[in-house]
Symmetry: C2
Subunit: 334 residues, 2 copies
Amino acid sequence: MSSQQTILTGDRPTGKLHLGHYAGSLAARVQLQHQHRQFVMLADVQALTDHAHEPQKIRESIYEVLLDYLAIGIDPNKTTIFIQSLIPALPELTMYYLNLITWNRLKHNPTVKLEIQQKGYGEEVPAGFMIYPVSQAADITAFKASLVPAGDDQIPMIEQCIEIVRKFNRLYKTDVLVEPKMVPSPVARLPGIDGKAKMSKGLGNAIYLSDSPDEVMRKVKGMYTDPGHLRVEDPGKVEGNPVFTYLDAFATDKTKVGELKDHYQRGGLGDSIVKKYLLDVLQAFLDPIRQRRAEFARDRDQVMSIAYRGTEVAREVANNTLLEVRGAMGMNYL
Amino acid sequence: MSSQQTILTGDRPTGKLHLGHYAGSLAARVQLQHQHRQFVMLADVQALTDHAHEPQKIRESIYEVLLDYLAIGIDPNKTTIFIQSLIPALPELTMYYLNLITWNRLKHNPTVKLEIQQKGYGEEVPAGFMIYPVSQAADITAFKASLVPAGDDQIPMIEQCIEIVRKFNRLYKTDVLVEPKMVPSPVARLPGIDGKAKMSKGLGNAIYLSDSPDEVMRKVKGMYTDPGHLRVEDPGKVEGNPVFTYLDAFATDKTKVGELKDHYQRGGLGDSIVKKYLLDVLQAFLDPIRQRRAEFARDRDQVMSIAYRGTEVAREVANNTLLEVRGAMGMNYL
């Protein structure tokens, strides 16, 4: 991976971004933008597949997520940030790819199956939701992304994309579509402040990049720890204890974290002391982010114009791929 | 229907058009273009849903079908003829509409179910084929078509479209989408020359608008008639006898057709005599069509430019609808 590659990544704009997003993907983007050609997509079309009833929320989240991106250091001069719904090549590619895979194949996508279960859709799953892996294949291939950062739960999506790429290139005797490789997420999923396996806005257990110092304090104070650690002198567990997981993810002084872990496990270290340290760590991490966020938020139009400029660039790249795709299919009529 | 309405109709370009197309829809279009705003779509994207492996055939058929249109008198100054794949608003609308209907609903579309059976797809039906009713809803609504000429087998498609229109307008508190009404086909389906219920290129039983006089002669001579009419003096049946069905559809001298029917039913009228008359009728009908077709075929670029000019007009209409749709959804970001 030493030579420059093309990366596609992004977020569904259905709310502000939180520490889980940062640890799982945002931090890596800030690094990757220096080595690679990086596209970051505000996936509003994909967000609609299960939020068709609240496009206003998506609209507002586009702005909030943009602020989050800029605040954490995604640099629009290095990374192309764009809005999915403003790239007409994407739905068109989706339509062509839908002819290359079967209904049956879509039905058996393990990630989609699990999500349908989690969302309680049953038979009433929106058709758009069922086909979103194909729409993702359009996103990835439109930018000829060779690297796609993703968690393990996204493996079936990448496999689906590779399948479409191979089928297309074979059927139309071409090599215009590029097979993506997955870049595994650098850290395991960050748990919620309630100790649940996943930090998620849906579960109400997230610390947001935009949370005020008071909100962060309130959330850290209320965090789940080791339920068996009743008295200060008791030995406590650090595994499955989100306070220590967050320290591992965000504290820069690893020695200090190691000492705290040892002390906690021996007994004699109170939760409130560890939480106080975590709070310091998080505030130190979040302070400059909050500050940059507030600066950018002074001019909403300018923030949006960053997305629009990125969208112009992305539109041209995707259109060029679409022209090649249509050419390979013999559909270059004009 | 006295006031001017908007009509959307069209064909899947998967081969030349035949007498069945003429009787079932083309003749009506020539009439309707004088009263209404008519859009005729060359549905190449829809053709790909079950012809993904032969886009070259679709490409060539676009030209042939265009020639058929012009030859029978569809007037590009009155009718907007356009190519579906060159209207980017259509796949985008399709994506939004897919979120408004369930997977389950798509699965139970009776027309699609029957077609899957006829094509022998079973579980291996392309996903694009399953969703084509939604794509049709995008076509119809993009042009705000209030009238859609269609056969009885298309009733479920119109119902699906109306369902999407109502769901969209209700959900986004708008009236931008227009409910279409079906215009029933003016004649019953034309049988094939083999007497089978449907003239179809797939069944190899069609007389094409572009067939040469010799081909038409050969096909008429070989036509299925009443299998019980063995000797000239025997009484023959006119019901289910395609020779008489074609006469009903294409002969202008209805008195003469009535006399032939009576004579045939009484006995004493040979098949060859009736076929000879049908041949005269068809040649008289097809001669001017062939002549105009040959004239247009002298300049392929000019024929294609008619479709491109129509496509420009159609693109603007569809884009305006898309802007209204995005506005209703609060997605008018720019």
